[in-house]
Symmetry: C2
Subunit: 416 residues, 2 copies
């Protein structure tokens, strides 16, 4: 008997224009458009294998080798229901000989190659991988722009959005907008590609993983509280974000890093500003995050004075970790400055995927001329507990059978 | 020959609705109205002695015993010029026999009884004391509401405002509004008393002096940058502050602590939000400040659940220090909770002006039932390096000759 199984991987994305606030909590419809860069799956990815089989007695999801509870009426169930409906209507209804996968239970195994301790939200890549693996299993998508597909990545982004808002942006590579939409059903609140990764392949990202003792407010409950209590959020939604979306799309099309950086930093700061303008206030940045901001701002100031151009753009999601976007030629210098202020634990060697340091650990280099070294103190070792260097990347990939996470018996190869 | 000399003291004020942004940098005209509470001069004050003498060869100001440079065209000179004009027009022009003090040079000595290290802005009390001492010397004000005066405290607030915006609010005791005004000359941008201290005498304040390694952005340059770059400030100015001013004045008139506290905390947070929404962003709160906020919010949460009422309102100016407003009956408990999370240096005993602890140092008491102790960590000793307990107070006071800071020879009694 045939095995109906597909394995895909999906990328992490980090927003430059931030999503903060829902107008519909069930359909996960946002209060404003957002825009992100998809990071390379060569470094950070969620991988998912989905199998449908008439002998499975129930649908089961293993996340990192551990069974996850599929809540009735929950986000996961809504994603599955939507994918089954698409399979039924677009494939099975048109060809009575096609196996009725939509009626079979599923086994789904998902794995993130980055530890939770990295402080990166895994829900975006996770739900994008889940959506794309089942879409591949159901024959809904070829995941190859040169081949015809039953559904487009934007359509699949609608499904991923039901799982986790920002997951919709992980259905594309490159620069991706999530359009706010206006329909109460959410049909127009989908992701579109603003530019593919090939358009600006020198866009790199350095993730500074900040040590944080305290668990912050979850983004779901935090954004809800901001919508309910912030006196500034509505102004941001109506009057600030629409213009910024246009401006950053233009900056991306023009490969204008200065404008890109200014908008990205301003929008990160404004997101944290509306979080602070919430009752009770929400803080995601800590003193280490503030120091990273001070160092990047000073580096930009010095660079701007010398060359008229900026070199880096920080952005912070709902946590203290910084993501610094920069063009590839500047990454080495930025790493050297970061490790000067935030010395690294020797036991956690920098992986250096682009071989900037020829096998050695990055060392603090002299600061650029004119750089005011007192913008931040030198922090104790481990305040920034890791650096991840990656770059812009592509959308979900269909993986070979050999990469499947389910064994031939339909159970995960690795269980915890 | 007669000595023409007057000594006054003036209070510190701490805003509940924050002043942030000027529409005129020379006249110091604000972009929005603000409202503060005047703190008692029994604990925190600036004292100033002003003497006019035809033999003085120049006008000299000693601040804490050290000569200050009086910049030509600077803020201090503008205050002096305005007071001389009032003396000339209202006193000397009307009675040719009055000595022409306005034509004589001045010796002015000013002293703050709180150290700079307390992190309290001294410019408000300082310019209020300067203005009131010269006004008293010039016979412009009796500083006694029951006696007639040539000028009102609101008129003098216009003068103090030329020295430092928030100084205008220190010309009154109790609850004081600084009205934004609309005139380009600034004549209607003055302070008015919303309610005297006797209206709500149980209003106390606990100042938590936070250790801060780094000097933050000055408020003058910071607010200028916010005006130029924040996308949210104009919305705050036009759409948020006017309603808050009305609401907090009503809360004060009704002695409605819950509303007072909610508005005060929201406005402190919004001020720091627009500072963060500035390019480059401005941070005044640090991780210790955030922990104070978390502890006060938790205390309010527990209290609200039990009694339906709040007990404390934090507010932060352009620095990391918290001022916690509370009614007198709650101060002891709040101090005990603060010292639990922020243990005090034993060598800096709490002055305890209201004798809450009968001569002992405040000790950490058990937390109220239901209080989640994990809202903050217990900080290292000295993270909050001092606590100042004070209460609502009166406006400028005329002091006795014996309190003068100038000796009979016209020079400061204490020089540094």
């Amino acid at each position: 008997m045939s095995v109906f199984q597909a394995t895909t991987s999906a990328p992490v994305n980090i927003a430059c224009i931030k999503y903060w606030g829902k107008r519909d909590n069930t359909l996960i419809l946002p209060t404003n458009s957002s825009l992100s860069i998809t990071l390379s799956q060569d470094h950070l990815r969620s991988t998912t294998t989905a199998r449908a089989d008439p002998t499975f007695t129930e649908t089961t999801l293993w996340l990192n080798g551990k069974v996850e509870d599929i809540k009735s009426g929950g986000r996961l169930e809504r994603c599955l229901a939507q994918l089954k409906k698409m399979r039924r209507e677009r494939i099975e209804a048109k060809d009575p000989n096609t196996p009725k996968l939509s009626e079979w239970n599923l086994h789904v195994a998902s794995f993130n190659n980055f530890p939770t301790a990295a402080g990166l939200a895994s829900s975006a890549s996770g739900f994008a991988a889940l959506t794309s693996s089942i879409a591949a299993l159901y024959g809904l998508s070829s995941f190859d722009p040169s081949k015809p597909s039953v559904s487009s990545p934007s359509e699949l982004s609608l499904v991923a959005r039901l799982g986790s808002g920002s997951a919709c942006r992980s259905l594309f590579g490159g620069f991706v907008a999530w359009e706010v939409g206006s329909s109460p059903t959410g049909e127009d609140s989908l992701a579109v590609q603003v530019a593919p990764q090939e358009h600006w392949p020198t866009m790199h990202a350095l993730i500074c993983v900040v040590n944080d003792a305290k668990k912050g407010t979850s983004s779901t409950s935090g954004m809800q509280r901001t919508v309910e209590t912030s006196a500034l959020l509505q102004h941001r939604i109506k009057n600030v974000v629409p213009a910024r979306m246009q401006a950053i799309e233009k900056a991306i099309k023009d490969k204008d890093f200065d404008s890109f950086a200014r908008i990205t930093m301003a929008d990160s700061n404004q997101f944290h500003a509306v979080a602070l303008d919430t009752a009770p206030p929400i803080f995601y940045l800590n003193d280490v995050s503030r120091s990273i901001i001070a160092v990047v701002e000073e580096l930009n100031r010095v660079s701007y004075e010398k060359t008229g151009h900026l070199v880096a753009a920080y952005t912070f999601d709902a946590g203290p970790n910084a993501v610094v976007y920069t063009e590839s030629r500047n990454v080495k210098q930025i790493i050297e400055i970061i490790v000067r202020y935030f010395p690294q634990v020797e036991s956690s060697p920098f992986p250096d995927p682009f071989n900037l340091f020829s096998g050695s650990q990055p060392a603090a280099a002299p600061l650029p001329e004119g750089f005011n070294e007192n913008v931040a103190k030198v922090w104790e070792v481990g305040s920034v507990k890791g650096l991840i260097h990656t770059k812009i990347g592509d959308g979900p990939r269909i993986l070979a059978e050999s990469e499947a996470l389910l064994a031939s018996n339909g159970l995960p190869k690795v269980l915890v």
